[in-house]
């Protein structure tokens, strides 16, 4: 994880929109600020950042879908996040921004609280106690069936999860923001972002992502 978002975007631009609006000046690190303010010959800067973010999300989803659990953790290690101040109020906590998949939720003492799909409510509802805690995945939040009974209000819950950052234009112009994915995934991100830029549909992009990540498995 040493490649910056800026260098990746420049690589993407070389494929889909290599020059500034004048059609002749090649976009590079030295004129990235000019590109950000005047756009490329084909796409405006926000479009390009969107392509890039969509490519990354498609890649993360494909890895999550197709990789076995232990290997997934290795590949997505760069996307692993810890929120050590998750706040439960009245038995509910909002999912973090960019949340993809939870790995481990606990209280401040590392006592596990499982996160379950709501289809499991009938099976689990009678098992909840203060030493056998659970929450359920409801839309944009995690919620306990019994409110604060077993999940007291606190801002010290710990959530380890895979989450993907949505980069913004300043991450590109600043030059210091580092891509979350490990470096060996860089060509695939570019390839997927290019597919998005070429207006391939989501189905085609997802299929390409699946093909790319399964190729890495072999």
């Amino acid at each position: 994880m040493s490649r910056t978002v800026q260098s990746n975007i420049i690589s993407l631009l070389q494929r889909i929109d290599p020059t500034l609006k004048d059609g002749t000046t090649v976009i590079a690190a030295g004129n990235i600020a000019t590109w950000a303010s005047t756009a490329g010959a084909k796409f405006n800067p926000q479009q390009v950042v969107d392509f890039y973010n969509e490519g990354r999300t498609a890649l993360a989803n494909a890895v999550d879908l197709h990789y076995p659990e232990p290997l997934k953790g290795t590949v997505l290690g760069g996307l692993a996040q810890l929120n050590a101040s998750l706040t439960f109020t009245s038995g509910a906590a909002p999912k973090p921004t960019g949340f993809i998949k939870s790995v481990f939720l606990s209280d401040v003492n590392n006592a596990q609280i499982t996160i379950n799909p709501i289809i499991m409510i009938p099976r689990l509802k009678d098992l909840e106690t203060s030493t056998n805690r659970m929450v359920f995945d409801y839309g944009s939040s995690f919620s306990a069936l019994t409110g604060t009974t077993n999940i007291p209000n606190a801002a010290t819950y710990k959530l380890s999860y895979y989450g993907i950052t949505t980069f913004v234009l300043s991450d590109v112009t600043g030059g210091a923001t580092v891509e979350q994915f490990n470096d060996d995934w860089f060509p695939k991100i570019i390839q997927l972002a290019e597919a998005v830029a070429n207006e391939q549909g989501q189905q085609a992009v997802n299929a390409l992502a699946a093909q790319l990540v399964q190729g890495m498995l072999k």
Partner: protein, 307 residues
């Protein structure tokens, strides 16, 4: 009751799940770990009882103990068979339903049983020859649920392992050293005054009750202790030690536990650990100086993984 000195439930869960490729630790199975572990304990013990039943023998006192008594008078209403406003040394609870009681109204004494607990100081009773009129209840006694009644003791509240049934049980009394199990037929023909029986206590099991009879020289049954194998006590905390003997039994338990966990994983192709279980069962019997035939091992393995 035996306990592992090595494995707590949390250890068994960690070991069992670590052997499952791709196990999702954030799954409903975590919340079901107690249910599954308790089931695994019962399966393991039941199928290996011929080797381990003795490990689970405990002494249970089945004497008249633990009853409660009134510390004030109460009001008896004949129409509703209700006793109310009576203070007990320990308040009535729903667990008192079915227990026998004795009480006094005036100079008459009565026996009944608790049909319903209305409140902490109020009950509805049932029985024969109860008072026809209202009155003031005094000296109310709630007998323990295991009260010997007509020389029988109800043992349904004891979680007994019924392996070998009463043949594996022992009953001792401080009234005599001669306490003998009998068949129902022999029990019915027991003659208390026969010279060989005068100092003996005999018993037989009928359903969930142990029937007793005693020789004519004995004033009472004495303090009776039932010495019998029981079911493993329920695991309720991650830090509870397994109710399994260290060694082969713990290993077998973990394999059975893992098998039960794998069955709950959608799409998991459960591979039964047949060879592993077979060798562990062999080890268990050998460690106890017992022989076991291969076909018996195979039957036990089948029972353990398909239970």
């Amino acid at each position: 009751m035996i306990y592992s000195t090595i494995y707590k439930l949390q250890d068994a869960y960690r070991i069992a799940t670590a052997d499952i490729p791709g196990f999702d630790y954030n799954s409903p199975i975590y919340n079901e770990r107690f249910d599954l572990a308790n089931r695994a304990q019962y399966i393991t013990q039941a199928n290996l009882a011929d080797a381990v039943a003795e490990d689970y023998i405990v002494d249970t006192s089945i004497n008249l103990t633990g009853g409660n008594y009134s510390t004030s008078t109460g009001t008896y209403t004949a129409a509703t068979l209700d006793i109310s406003a009576i203070t007990m040394n320990a308040v009535f609870t729903s667990g008192d339903v079915g227990k026998k009681i004795g009480f006094r109204i005036g100079t008459s004494t009565y026996l009944a049983r608790i049909a319903q607990v209305i409140g902490t100081a109020e009950i509805v009773i049932a029985g024969n020859s109860l008072p026809a009129g209202n009155g003031t209840v005094a000296d109310l006694i709630v007998f323990a649920s295991n009260l010997p009644n007509s020389s029988s003791i109800d043992i349904s509240s004891i979680g007994l392992l019924r392996y070998g049934s009463e043949l594996a049980w022992q009953i001792v009394s401080d009234a005599t050293q001669s306490v003998n199990m009998m068949s129902r037929e022999s029990f019915e023909r027991f003659t208390p005054s026969w010279y060989g029986n005068v100092n003996a206590i005999v018993w037989c099991l009928v359903g969930t009750k142990i029937l007793f009879n005693q020789g004519s020289n004995l004033a009472s049954l004495g303090n009776i202790t039932l010495r019998a194998p029981v079911l493993p006590s329920v695991l309720t905390a991650d830090t509870d030690y397994l109710r399994m003997l260290d060694g082969a039994m713990c290993n077998i338990f973990i394999t059975v536990y893992r098998n039960l966990i794998m069955r709950r994983i959608p799409g998991m192709n459960v591979k039964a650990d047949v060879d592993e279980l077979a060798s562990q069962i062999q080890a268990l019997f050998q460690s106890r100086g017992m022989q076991i035939k291969e076909e018996v091992v195979a039957d036990k393995v089948k029972a353990l993984i398909s239970a």
